[in-house]
Assembly symmetry: C2
Homo-oligomer: 331 residues x 2
């Protein structure tokens, strides 16, 4: 990793996206969402994904000019089509819309069909929490995870994001349903480290903490074994049903062809979340984790992100050298 | 386990509840919800919980005459108080209300404060799916699970239920955030079996599949290790925030004193779920799990429940002999 100033990263991304046909406003937002992922320590779902996105744009799979449109509405629930536009712009627009619906109806839900990889899922959790809203969203994916009882990837690792606003640091859970992502497995392998807990099956069908063995079988573990397997299934069904979109088994199982995803964005009214009954509640919950545990290390979701953000804004944002070279070469 | 006819179980429960001061209508519903848990193979959260509930009723912790009341409303989002009434009746009423709100607004959410243990969480998922609605609900609990990085139980195992209606068998996920419940650990210990996967830590702080060792440390594992730990935290915060109720760290950590819980019930409009864009979608997803996996054993959530229900209605519902003796002695 090399470090670059946040604004240099943002500028380089904006210039690169300009060359792909994004209009200026959308290039600016798309660049910010990608730069923010690296700023927050999630390079795997920020700059590192850009080469794949560019490939898909050039192949006509992602349409940079496509805007999401509303297809159907029933009060607080709406169905949008992403029209195969950039996944992060579609997702950002739909969480923004869910927040507006929540302000009108107390709770709001936008189900999005025909979209693309949303890149860093946590983005839309931070977006909701920054607006003072509780946010809950998930995406289906191509088949990339064997359900419990199978050896082949029949379900998606369907990332799930849950965010709660808090003045002194939002709580943002951003997790895929697999115990480790492919990116995490590669990182452990490269560093020559064992996984901290078993992450999948080896070629003999035994649980293993050897990342390379899991990469070779493709048999990643769902979180909680059979529990995560069931969770992945229902998240997929709900996203496809509410959005009227595709389910995991209908999505091409190759990363550079993965399109037509279904996603769900739910928000709760910021005024409700900030109600007087709630004053200081999230703070007390966070405090209870550290106070009562003495010197143990209990982290709340989002805690590490916030710490990294501060460090990276001060000392520079870590970027993968080849990805940084890629974006600079485009501009 | 002994087997009794479903209707004999239901009648015995109704008579037992009559003696506790429930009115006839509520005794009938409460009895049905408990009998249905055993019928569906979840005796641990059905009849086996009755002695504890009766103890709490006699101690004045659960008020059998208390009805849930609406405290606040903002369109599709409502806050109710359970008034420390029977947990399953409160939860059932709130999921029913969420379904009505969903019919009016597309999506509906009821947050419930000051309630009691809802017994079998899956009940409210089946309830939603039987009404044609997608249902999503969860409860916080007393502290009974060490978060990742701690040795003491600072978070709840906060059961999460997600249900999708389907003509040929609903999909209903009903899972606690711990990998195994205390009931499951006891069952493995009694049978002298190892857990199928590690379920917690032994006294040396090592992961173990020895149920007795985990019961002795109380260090159960969250699903997905750090992931389930984060999930338990955000589910608790959201339930307490939306309901204006208590968070896990404010709940007495003794089963027979566990009261004042916070819960969330979300439903999506049955008409939307049954829309023409969705015809057969859930069936195709279920089919994709078996077809593509050949002879592998992939189950969808709820599949086993439905099979057990059929067997138990035909051959008798399994009941724990001492719990059955308990309910008969009350009537």
């Amino acid at each position: 990793m090399v470090r670059v100033a946040y604004h240099d990263l943002l500028d380089a991304l904006r210039r690169a996206l300009d060359t792909l046909g994004f209009d200026a406003r959308r290039a600016g937002l798309c660049a910010r969402l990608i730069a923010d992922a690296n700023r927050d320590g999630v390079a795997s779902h920020g700059l590192n994904l850009l080469p794949r996105v560019v490939t898909m744009i050039r192949a006509g799979i992602v349409d940079v000019t496509a805007e999401p449109v509303r297809i159907a509405a029933a009060g607080a629930l709406e169905r949008w089509s992403g029209n195969r536009g950039p996944g992060n712009l579609n997702a950002y627009a739909c969480m923004a819309r869910a927040i507006v619906l929540a302000q009108e109806h107390g709770v709001g839900c936008v189900a999005l069909a025909d979209t693309n990889h949303w890149m860093r899922g946590g983005t839309y959790g931070w977006q909701a929490a920054d607006a003072g809203a509780i946010g809950l969203c998930w995406s289906n994916t191509m088949p990339n995870l064997p359900p419990w009882g199978a050896t082949k990837p029949l379900v998606g690792n369907n990332p799930l994001v849950i965010a709660v606003p808090r003045a002194d640091g939002h709580l943002v859970l951003d997790m895929a349903i697999s115990q480790f992502s492919f990116g995490a497995l590669a990182a452990y392998r490269t560093r020559g480290e064992r996984l901290p807990v078993p992450g999948g099956f080896d070629e003999n069908g035994a649980l293993t903490d050897d990342a390379a063995a899991i990469e070779s079988t493709g048999r990643l573990l769902p979180i909680g074994f059979w529990k995560g397997s069931g969770l992945a299934i229902v998240l997929d069904v709900i996203a496809a049903l509410l959005a009227g979109g595709r389910a995991t088994h209908e999505i091409t199982a190759r990363p550079e062809k993965e399109t037509g995803l279904s996603q769900v964005f739910i928000a709760f009214d910021p005024m409700w979340c900030a109600g007087s009954a709630n004053t200081g509640l999230a703070d007390r919950i966070v405090a209870s984790l550290s106070t009562e545990s003495g010197d143990e290390q209990v982290r709340y979701p989002g805690q590490r992100t916030r710490a990294l953000r501060e460090i990276h804004l001060r000392d520079g944002v870590p970027v993968d050298p080849s990805a940084w070279q890629f974006v600079q070469s485009m501009a």
